[in-house]
């Protein structure tokens, strides 16, 4: 193609893009030719073949686990058990969302369990032992989490200590500090009917709440997808066809209303689940639609490239560890609320393992640059389903640990294999 032809093409495109026969126009059509349902299916098969599994293993695991436990015990899929499950996933799930952020950088935070325990202990000591107003104690607890995260991030990002080691030291140190803060009694009971107690014990009994949320979610999903597709079509870039948007919206609606229906069969929409969903949706937006989120993904895919693009890598790293610490603190408050107390067993390392496992099972890559906050929700659903089913069947926690460990190993193996496959398909 010679220069004048190229500049011609550019001007026509800029001036409204009238269809014009030319090599570039042909190329564009062939690239966009496969649309509609068939294009969608072929796109999915291509992705699966090359190892981009995404959320699929997580969804598959949930279906298998739920089927197996339902066969073994008919109480498993009862509204009561599922409603409890939806509240049980929140505490560790919030911690796992923080882990997703750290994993996107290609790093790890081993201290989240201890940080969550320490934050809960700080809250309990302030509020219960010293009579500090509850809202103030909550803010203090969350700030403690954020500050710890930032300090660990500082050691990692500016001094260059591997994150694994910094947070391993944190794991021990913050757990020690928690035991120290809790003092001789060892266990502090939360005030019943308080703000934090209500976090996991408040339900919106009105059935309109759950259905309303489901409707809102569906409508919001449709409007944003449709609006995006229309803008894309107006700008003449590849857009999702309307049939695909309709299909996706249908799927979202079915899931949302099924969940709402089941929750309304028991106590209604749990406040904890509402908060968890809000956090996941909000942070998913931050990761995928803001400059800050783009920086996190780019560091996960190439630190040097990001640095040379003029981005302050150290600052992003510190902030991500602060996010992880903040979410660990929030998660700690929900976990304390669930058992209505803070004891010496709070913030155990099983918590840390579960939250990392949740993120990885949900489809976040350990190698950085791939994953979404939704993975935390999906992964927690897998882990908590196993725990809940085992509890129903009266199986000991020892067995539960072994099975969770096995699932984690399977998830990591899958992640490594998929990366390998992506490499051989030239996609990683």
């Amino acid at each position: 193609m010679n220069k004048s032809e190229a500049s011609d093409l550019n001007t026509t495109r800029a001036g409204g893009g009238t269809a014009r026969a030319g090599p570039a126009a042909d190329r564009r059509q062939s690239a966009e030719g496969e649309q509609g349902f068939r294009g969608y299916v072929s796109e999915i098969t291509r992705k699966l073949r090359s190892g981009e599994l995404g959320a699929l293993p997580g969804v598959f695991s949930v279906v298998v686990i739920w089927t197996v436990f339902q066969i073994l015990d008919h109480q498993f899929l009862s509204p009561r058990n599922l409603s409890n499950l939806s509240v049980d996933i929140v505490g560790t799930g919030l911690i796992a969302v923080g882990i997703v952020f750290v994993l996107l950088l290609g790093e790890i935070d081993l201290s989240v369990g201890s940080v969550s325990g320490l934050s809960a202990a700080v809250f309990a000591v302030f509020n219960v032992n010293n009579g500090v107003p509850e809202w103030l104690a909550v803010i203090a607890a969350v700030l403690v989490g954020a500050a710890i995260g930032a300090v660990q991030g500082f050691f990692f990002a500016t001094i260059g200590v591997p994150a694994f080691v910094v947070t391993l030291a944190g794991l021990l140190a913050w757990n020690g500090l928690m035991l120290h803060v809790l003092g001789a009694s060892g266990t502090i009971n939360l005030r019943p009917q308080g703000l934090v107690y209500g976090l996991t014990n408040h339900y919106f009994h009105n059935t309109a709440a759950a259905y309303g949320l489901a409707a809102l979610g569906t409508v919001a999903f449709f409007v944003t997808s449709y609006h995006d597709a229309r803008r894309r079509r107006a700008a003449e870039v590849l857009a999702r066809p309307l049939t695909e948007i309709a299909m996706r919206t249908g799927a979202v609606a079915v899931i949302a209303f099924a969940v709402a229906y089941v929750l309304n069969q028991f106590e209604g929409l749990p406040l904890a689940l509402l908060i968890f969903l809000a956090v996941v949706v909000g942070l998913d937006f931050v990761l995928r639609r803001t400059k800050y989120g783009r920086k996190i993904f780019s560091i996960g895919g190439g630190v040097e490239a990001t640095r040379r693009a003029g981005i302050n890598v150290a600052w992003v790293r510190v902030s991500v560890f602060a996010v992880s610490g903040t979410l660990a603190a929030l998660g700690g408050l929900f976990l304390a609320s669930r058992v209505a107390s803070v004891g010496q067993t709070a913030g155990s390392s099983i918590l840390m393992i579960n939250s990392i496992a949740a993120a990885v099972i949900g489809g976040v890559s350990l190698f950085g640059g791939r994953g979404r906050p939704w993975s935390a929700l999906l992964g927690m659903l897998v882990i908590q389903s196993i725990a809940s089913g085992m509890l129903l069947l009266g199986i000991q926690t020892t067995v539960q640990y072994m099975i969770t460990g096995g699932v984690l190993l399977a998830a990591v193996v899958l992640d490594s294999l998929s990366r390998h496959s992506q490499k051989s398909h030239g996609r990683a």
Partner: protein, 261 residues
Amino acid sequence: MSTTPVLALRGICKRFGAVRALTDVELEIHAGEVVALVGDNGAGKSTLVKVITGVGPADEGVIEWNGRPVRIHRPHDAQTLGIAGVYQDLALCESLDVVGNVFLGHEICTAGVLDEVAMERRTRELELMDTLSIRIPSVRVPVASLSAGQRQTVAISRALLSDPKILILDEPTAALGVEQTAHFLDLIERLRERGIGVLLISHNLGDVKAVADQVAVLRLGRNNGFFDVLTTSQEQIVSSITGATDNAITHRKAWAWEAML
């Protein structure tokens, strides 16, 4: 040339421990001029590039921008001045798609939210996506799946996006085929017409003779001669690179330095 150079390096020194990677290196780039930087492996070419782009700042020496001394300590400093680079290892982000890479660090936002549609449209309108005739199936594929030539299109597109005054190309043709190289040299001609100063680092003296105006030779971290491409034979450049003939002028300069010390 009598005008003030856009970018001038004066007495640049850089050490890695006991190793002196660069010693008193001088370099001038004028607007609309293509300067080729050549030298054997380990001559300090990439180190000099890192000094200019702020990736590895100099220990001593002055960098002048339009005649005024400036400090370049971080990549960000170089970018604000108007220096863009395409690196030997290309420095792209594997996990992002083509659009994400082109706009990395310069994302278009509407009300604080990434405007993917605008970025995708602008990426398609970029001159290079068509003129380099390197086919990218879709601007939404991750960079990991692209060939070396395609990656380079992306890297150069990104460098040109910020409208730089000085463009640094580190071994740009190493990964390209014959036809792609020809297109690429055309591109450099066009950049020169636009008034961009180009610093071309290359091992390929054929490419250098084809597009460069000036050739600066580095040898063992020191200047070893500046040549006008039109009046210099390839043999002269080669012997200067290998050190078969030490350049008389730089030799005398070094002498003068030692005398002063």
